[in-house]
């Protein structure tokens, strides 16, 4: 049997050649918050001989803060100060904008290559005191968006005391019509705001279930190339692919363990779908479930000691169960209400799970959330075909796939259900989102 060590498919990473249009996700805030805090992000000053930088850092920052649901960036600013001395404090106080961000982008040329130094300062306009400030140096032109996201995280942390989730990426699968009307599946990654989209793989065969490695360098996913299911791993930086699992039957639902050395997956090679854990270095498989029923969709608890999975072992309807990652124990049932509970995802702190839920009373598959150890289910969404929940790495938002207006799109909801957005691409169905862990500068 082929294992991780057999490098069957090593292909050059050529996003452009035959890839479909690299359309970016468009984000629309569909339910905002009255309580969002006003903030102003002034246009960053630009110093240097060359043309204006290819990205507007202040626009990225303002859009990020708005997307968090917790801030309401001002649209028309009375001034765009660059230095502290330029700030006309009374103007901002009169507008009752308590927080002001200013910044600058300085261009330098080192070794013939253009790079930037990006700095920002965050002020409390009532005290004129600085709340945060940071300078990022050696930023390549293609890292400017990252700098904008990092600055957004800095500001978010300074004002809320919580870590942001802006300097992250999302993976998703798109489905578009090819030139002959055939279906083209693609695996994509983009910044958390939909910017900088990259096509990692296109195929005439379905692609499913992307899962991030904890260091953000690899994606594991299901591919049906060659008319059978297999689990592939692909390195983002190089495009290098390798086959991880291609047993007869189902090879599905890959999930990297929190430390990144193992992959939980679903295999039906022994008759019915069961949960296994593959040691990526040795290729050894540990079988965690043995029921003749369906067991699938393993999700690791962040401490790596247990997994939650979907099973129809009790009465033919899917419910969530929990099992030890070490194997050998009997799965314990977690959900008792509703007709359908499946596809769990853990919050980053391990306190909650999000999952697909259909209640007894209302038809429709929705995203629900439950405290681990409780049986109380809170339904967060109101679609009819909501699926594939994935938490932001700060645990504040859940990204999921929804089918509306006859096309699948992504949507996000805050964990209190108060703030919603829709992320869509014209002419493409979008689904199977996976939110990355926090990422270092690439």
């Amino acid at each position: 049997m082929r294992t991780f060590r057999n490098w069957l498919f090593i292909v050059a990473f050529l996003a452009g050649a035959s890839a479909p249009a690299r359309a970016a996700l468009e984000i629309e805030i569909t339910q905002g918050l009255e309580s969002a805090t006003p903030i102003a992000v002034a246009r960053f000053g630009h110093a240097g001989s060359g043309p204006a930088p290819p990205e507007s850092i202040s626009a990225i920052v303002a859009a990020n803060l708005a997307r968090s649901g917790r801030f309401a960036p001002l649209r028309d600013l009375p001034q765009h100060p660059v230095r502290k001395e330029d700030i006309r404090w009374p103007d901002w106080r009169r507008l009752r904008v308590g927080s002001l961000v200013i910044g600058s982008i300085e261009e330098t040329v080192r070794g013939g290559a253009r790079e930037y130094q990006v700095a920002f300062r965050l002020f409390d306009t009532f005290t004129a005191g600085q709340l945060a400030g940071q300078r990022y140096t050696g930023i390549r032109p293609d890292q400017l968006r990252w700098a904008g996201h990092q600055i957004s995280d800095d500001i978010y942390y300074a004002l809320t005391g919580e870590k942001g989730a802006f300097a992250t990426r999302i993976a998703y699968v798109t489905e578009t019509a090819g030139q002959e009307g055939e279906v083209v599946f693609a695996l994509n990654v983009a910044d958390s705001d939909g910017g900088n989209p990259v096509v990692l793989r296109t195929s005439p065969d379905p692609i499913m279930s992307p899962s991030w490695s904890p260091n953000g360098s690899w994606l594991a996913y299901v591919s049906f190339e060659g008319g059978r299911s297999r689990i592939m791993m692909q390195e983002l930086a190089t495009g290098r692919r390798q086959e991880v699992s291609a047993f007869p039957g189902i090879n599905g639902a890959p999930a990297f363990s929190p430390e990144g050395r193992r992959l939980a997956l679903t295999l039906s090679r022994d008759g019915s779908p069961d949960i296994y854990v593959l040691d990526l270095a040795s290729g050894e498989l540990l079988r965690l479930t043995t029921s003749p029923d369906i067991d699938t969709e393993p999700a690791w608890a962040p401490d790596g000691r247990t997994l939650v999975f979907t099973s129809d072992r009790s009465g033919g309807r899917p419910h969530l169960f929990r099992v030890s990652a070490a194997g050998g124990d009997k799965p314990r049932r977690l959900t008792f209400s509703g007709r359908y509970n499946a596809r769990a995802a853990f919050s980053p702190d391990g306190s909650r799970i999000a999952f697909v839920h259909e209640s007894e009373s209302a038809a429709g598959y929705r995203i629900a959330i439950m405290e681990v150890g409780s049986e109380k289910v809170d339904v967060l969404t109101n679609g009819i075909l909501d699926e594939s929940p994935t938490f932001a790495p700060n645990g504040r938002m859940i990204l999921y796939a929804a089918t509306d207006r006859d096309r699948s799109a992504l949507a996000a909801v805050s964990i209190d259900g108060q703030f919603r957005q829709r992320l869509s691409i014209d002419e493409a169905g979008v689904r199977d989102p996976a939110w990355s862990p926090r990422l270092a500068r690439r």
Binding site: M208, R228, T266, A342, E358
Partner: protein, 108 residues
């Protein structure tokens, strides 16, 4: 050829038995022939669970073919879950046409 299934069911309809029997005869007559049974589910619920439901349907048909004397080596199954719908639509009529097993003969 396609046969269809009820919601959340992998049982071959009594009416479709004759279809499976006809395929069994074709396969038994030529032991070198091969069929891929493609299992599918409707779009409701989660995607990987639907892959499992599609496989259960394909396996149900496979087991019937075996009972009717078709060799193990002549049958392969694959489940696409909800990934390859026959019809796009978000109501029961479309869903009932997507809960299916397709017989695909391997060209040689």
């Amino acid at each position: 050829m396609v046969i269809y299934f009820d919601f959340d069911s992998s049982e071959v309809h009594p009416d479709d038995r004759i279809v499976v029997e006809a395929h069994a005869q074709i396969l038994a007559r030529d032991p070198s022939s091969e069929v891929v049974l493609e299992g599918h589910a409707d779009e409701r619920g989660s995607r990987e669970y639907n892959v499992a439901l599609g496989e259960r349907r394909a396996n149900g048909v496979r087991d019937m073919l075996r009972l009717l004397g078709v060799g193990d080596g002549q049958i392969r199954t694959v489940s696409y879950g909800e990934e390859r719908p026959a019809t796009i639509g978000h109501e029961e009529e479309s869903w009932s046409r997507n809960r299916r097993v397709e017989f695909a003969y391997v060209a040689r």
